[in-house]
Symmetry: C2
Subunit: 265 residues, 2 copies
Amino acid sequence: MPYSLTALDPMDSRSLSTQLADQLRDLITSGEIPPGEPLPAQSELKATLDVSDNTVRAAMAQLRSEGLIDAHRGKGVFVRQPQVVRHVSSTRYSKQRDGQHNTSAFTSDLGVMWDQYSVESTFRQVKAPALVSELLQLGDEELVLERFSVMRAGNIAQQVRSSYFPLSLVKGTPMMDPNRQPVPGGVIAELEALGLVVTTIDEEVQARMPTPTEAHLLRIPAGVPVLAVTRVGWAGERPVELVSEMVLPADRIRLHYRIELQPTR
Amino acid sequence: MPYSLTALDPMDSRSLSTQLADQLRDLITSGEIPPGEPLPAQSELKATLDVSDNTVRAAMAQLRSEGLIDAHRGKGVFVRQPQVVRHVSSTRYSKQRDGQHNTSAFTSDLGVMWDQYSVESTFRQVKAPALVSELLQLGDEELVLERFSVMRAGNIAQQVRSSYFPLSLVKGTPMMDPNRQPVPGGVIAELEALGLVVTTIDEEVQARMPTPTEAHLLRIPAGVPVLAVTRVGWAGERPVELVSEMVLPADRIRLHYRIELQPTR
DNA sequence: CAGTGGTCTAGACCACGCT
DNA sequence: GCGTGGTCTAGACCACTGT
């Protein structure tokens, strides 16, 4: 153990557990305890620092909530490994249209091919919820097609999303077929096949902690937030698609946007 | 108290504290305990559910880490109020160039005027760190101007960022003046005044939990992540500015991007 | 089996807000 | 002063991983 811990001070304004968490955090962020390496056992910390079991555990809980460590029963507490980061670029949309048509937004995101991932979708016809109705500029009581999808790669979910389409636009089209297989080019290509050429996409990005359901589905460990993207696809002045929320685990994903500035008039 | 709690089951696969957290979460997300309202006192939960003090506290810790509640010593535990969300749009960049020039990216973000916020910056000349050197395409040992800024509005920090400029481009210019006041039009306008017209901006968005320093500076409560944006400004083929990290509290901020699709060839 | 982390209890003391 | 949440202790039992 090349590092050492200093005694805790009951007179310090910080609590004992916070002092311990601060020390361990320094060791982790400075690289003295590198990713994948174990922290000293909780029983050892308890003995060396002469504090109670629960005090040590409180420090661990703090570091876990910051996403710095993973604990494994029977093995130990380990510095979390950085994940392989997948870059989700906004250029995915234009790439779809350059004649290739072998990727959708999701596959180009992941840099994987069609047979390496799966999408599971469920469909419903529902009255548009308030947010959907507003963003799609629908009348009261108007119906929408709701599509809830889970995208998996390597058998673990990478993304969940719920999408909405005005029913008047997609009724009777192949988009209504619940057994429809994923289409090359993704939703944008599907819509284009219906004569709805998407010209503009608005994306609104927020971050928050996952719900327990999301954390379970996407295998999100403690202390890792999600990126939640709300997207509206426009065909000219008409909103034709709404992804009310696309939820991505933030430890594996970065979003990339390129902004071209207009030359000064 | 219009709602009620059901007894906890020691035989349930979930722990007692998780069962309690789940019950309370349901009450919160369903609106039965609306934002701003207090939860039952921990002493009351302890008595009604016949569990230990620490068990109740564990449930509270869980909900706090999800960003659902705020606890106040001497008062109680309250459902967290939704924050006023500020939309940071990528169109802020083009707006700066339409002749107005009275806002920078930050002020247009907040929808506030110049005298309502303050920026505090510190400057250094340093050898470019590895990431900076790579993204700015610098040679080894090349120097950069580092600018660390804290933006405040209403006296509370809204954003911290560190920016880097190749020293060869800004040496001897007004950008080096540590006492320089904020400039209308922001960094982009500053660079343009030096003959460096930024034509393209790349933004990479990630989310993570704040460091304790960030949490303190930006007044980020428990269970709220930050959005961290890495930005590169290009003048033609040449990278002229790097914001290595712009850190924003995710409960107050959403990022908006508009993507214009090219018509099919 | 010994060692790891996870949960729970009972009891103590402290810091803060309100009346 | 009383009720609130925050920290800490000592001790118990459980669940999992390794030898």
